[in-house]
């Protein structure tokens, strides 16, 4: 395994009109870690995710993933390299079946190239059955195997979150960026999701960076916490240290003001 942080973010800067959504944010994510990204609403967490995964341009600064600068690359190129995101509002494709949702994430599929559909049918059919087996195995792990043939609009919101995570795994990610994975998920499904994350980290060395509002999840399931407020990183450290940080408390609860002088 290569050395050094898997992700280095330097001086990312995004402005919408006069609003500084991300205002010079920078941090690192260590390989094999579970890093939480927290902060009050409007802190710029989701915009930062967009920059990391190529959906949004940063006006300056760099994003270095696995030793290579990906700042100017398109979303698909970044994902194909193994930095894969999920969305705050799930983007399961309702008109496709659950299995088809999984299969569109299969990498290196010759059947997805117009030129090889007719030229090399045997090669892509072999890859297709491989991908099918891989997809069904993942669906089984996530308890979605019996839904494989259903249209992806039918499962519950929590199950769609699981499906989105399972689908992201089809891309064979090394760094998974999860945008509020626990939001709208019932507690038992949420526990399953956390177990899956832990297992993926231990068994496959997947690194996680996730945005989360549930402090219990953040404190108990991450080994590093990055706190953003007003587009900047205001704290970065172990959960216990961050919890006690004055600036973090201020950001969440508002700054204490001195009593006006009498």
């Amino acid at each position: 395994m290569a050395e050094g942080p898997i992700l280095t973010v330097e001086d990312v800067y995004v402005r919408f009109g006069g609003v500084h959504a991300v205002d010079g944010a920078g941090f690192q994510v260590q390989r094999g870690s579970v890093t939480a990204l927290i902060g009050p609403n409007g802190a710029g967490k989701t915009t930062l995710f967009k920059v990391l995964t190529g959906f949004q341009r940063s006006e300056r600064g760099h994003v270095i993933y696995d030793g290579a600068r990906v700042t100017r690359r398109g979303p698909h190129a970044i994902a194909a390299r193994g930095m894969v995101r999920t969305f705050q509002l799930t983007k399961t494709l309702a008109a496709l079946t659950v299995l088809e949702n999984m299969l569109i994430a299969a990498q290196r599929h010759p059947g997805e190239r117009l030129t090889t559909v007719f030229a090399r049918p045997r090669a892509w059919r072999r890859r297709e059955s491989e991908a099918c087996a891989q997809a069904l195995e993942l669906l089984d792990t996530f308890g979605l195997a019996d839904k494989a043939g259903d249209h992806a609009g039918t499962p519950s919101g929590g199950q769609r979150k699981l499906l989105e995570l399972a689908r992201a795994l089809m891309v064979e990610p090394r760094l998974l960026l999860l945008d509020e994975p626990m939001a709208g998920v019932n507690p038992s499904l949420g526990r399953r999701l956390l177990e899956h994350m832990e297992r993926l980290r231990v068994e496959q060395g997947v690194t996680f960076l996730f945005i989360e509002h549930d402090m219990e999840v953040v404190m108990n399931h991450s080994d590093r916490v990055i706190v953003m407020a007003d587009g900047r990183v205001i704290a970065d450290g172990e959960p216990q240290a961050v919890r006690a940080d004055r600036r973090v408390i201020d950001a969440y609860l508002g700054t204490r003001r001195e009593e006006p002088a009498a």
Binding site: H76, F87, A95
Partner: protein, 318 residues
């Protein structure tokens, strides 16, 4: 255009139905490309007639002006249409859906205006002739071999048009069912989701558009052979809209629906040509389009996914 004979006896003539049959095949081919774009990929190509015109004119120009053999001109014309699709798609497929739709309408109109005004190349409104000599020889020998009566001279073209339709239908059906077709449907549902999974959504839209351009070109040179005289009036924007009517009646996302829609719309359009009504020719012509509108309204009300469309995979207003 043929004159509007007010006579029901025209219905009994086989020549009439042969002509309708050829037009059904030509429109079905044109609409196959539209189905790939709209039903599968979700890109709103409103300029499909532009590719039809490019296919027809490129074939005619290559044969008449450049002196190419007819057999080379056919793939040549297809490649020209593909090149135009790529050139048009490269800048416009990055735009949002509606802007792309407007750009494609403008493209088809530009093609028609060029055909109308580039006298030296296309003959302008005088039109083009003499590109189908090779075809006439083949058609004549086919007619001999089949022992057909002289008034059935269009039967060879009917056969060729339907064989072409069958081949393209099979090709597009296979493409639609392949992992490539699955990616198009995924792009239609949500481009960002596709990108986030490491797939280049833009490249898929461009490929879909290029294939539609190629298919449009094929319908174009079949139409040229049918008319045996090329003029810009054959490529009005209304051709695309009739094609849309076929698409919606037949069902979005269904290739068999394309053929069914083409049969229904074309039979209604042509079959009402000889209606005996106490109306002027102009009023009868308008009435035919009103009928198509009524059919569209009926389909929308009773079966919004189209006759052969699938409800779970509704593309419009779903």
């Amino acid at each position: 255009m043929t004159t509007l004979a007010v006579s029901l006896s025209a219905f009994g003539r086989p020549e009439f139905w042969i002509g309708v049959g050829i037009l059904v095949a030509i429109y079905a081919i044109l609409t196959l490309g539209l189905q790939l774009n709209i039903g599968y990929t979700g890109i709103y190509n409103f300029g499909q007639v532009g590719f039809m015109a490019i296919g027809a004119y490129a074939m005619a120009i290559l044969v008449v002006e450049a002196g190419w053999s007819f057999w080379l001109a056919l793939p040549g014309a297809t490649l020209v249409a593909v090149a135009f699709a790529v050139l048009l798609g490269l800048p416009t497929l990055r735009l949002r859906t509606h802007y792309f739709a407007i750009a494609t309408i403008a493209f088809a109109e530009i093609v028609r205006y060029v055909a109308q005004n580039a006298d030296g190349l296309t003959g302008g409104s005088q039109g083009m002739l003499g590109f189908e000599i090779t075809w006439q020889t083949i058609a004549a020998s086919l007619q001999d071999q089949l022992g057909l009566a002289p008034q059935l001279s269009l039967v060879p073209l009917l056969i060729v048009a339907w064989v072409t339709l069958a081949v393209l239908f099979a090709v597009l059906l296979a493409l639609g069912r392949s992992p490539w077709g699955r990616m198009l449907r995924a792009v239609r549902e949500d481009e960002d989701a596709v990108r986030a999974l490491g797939k280049n959504a833009y490249a898929y839209k461009l490929q879909s558009f290029a294939v539609a351009g190629a298919v449009g070109a094929v319908s174009g040179y079949l139409l040229a052979l049918y008319l045996s005289f090329l003029s810009p009036e054959a490529f009005l924007a209304s051709v695309t809209f009739i094609s849309f009517a076929m698409l919606i009646v037949g069902g979005l996302g269904s290739f068999p629906g394309v053929v069914l829609g083409a049969v229904i719309v074309q039979v209604v359009l042509e079959g009402t040509r000889y209606l005996q009504l106490p109306l002027t020719d102009f009023q009868v012509a308008s009435l035919r389009y009103i009928l198509i509108g009524l059919i569209l309204i009926l389909v929308m009300a009773l079966r919004p996914q189209g006759i052969l469309g699938r409800r779970e995979e509704m593309v419009l207003g779903g």
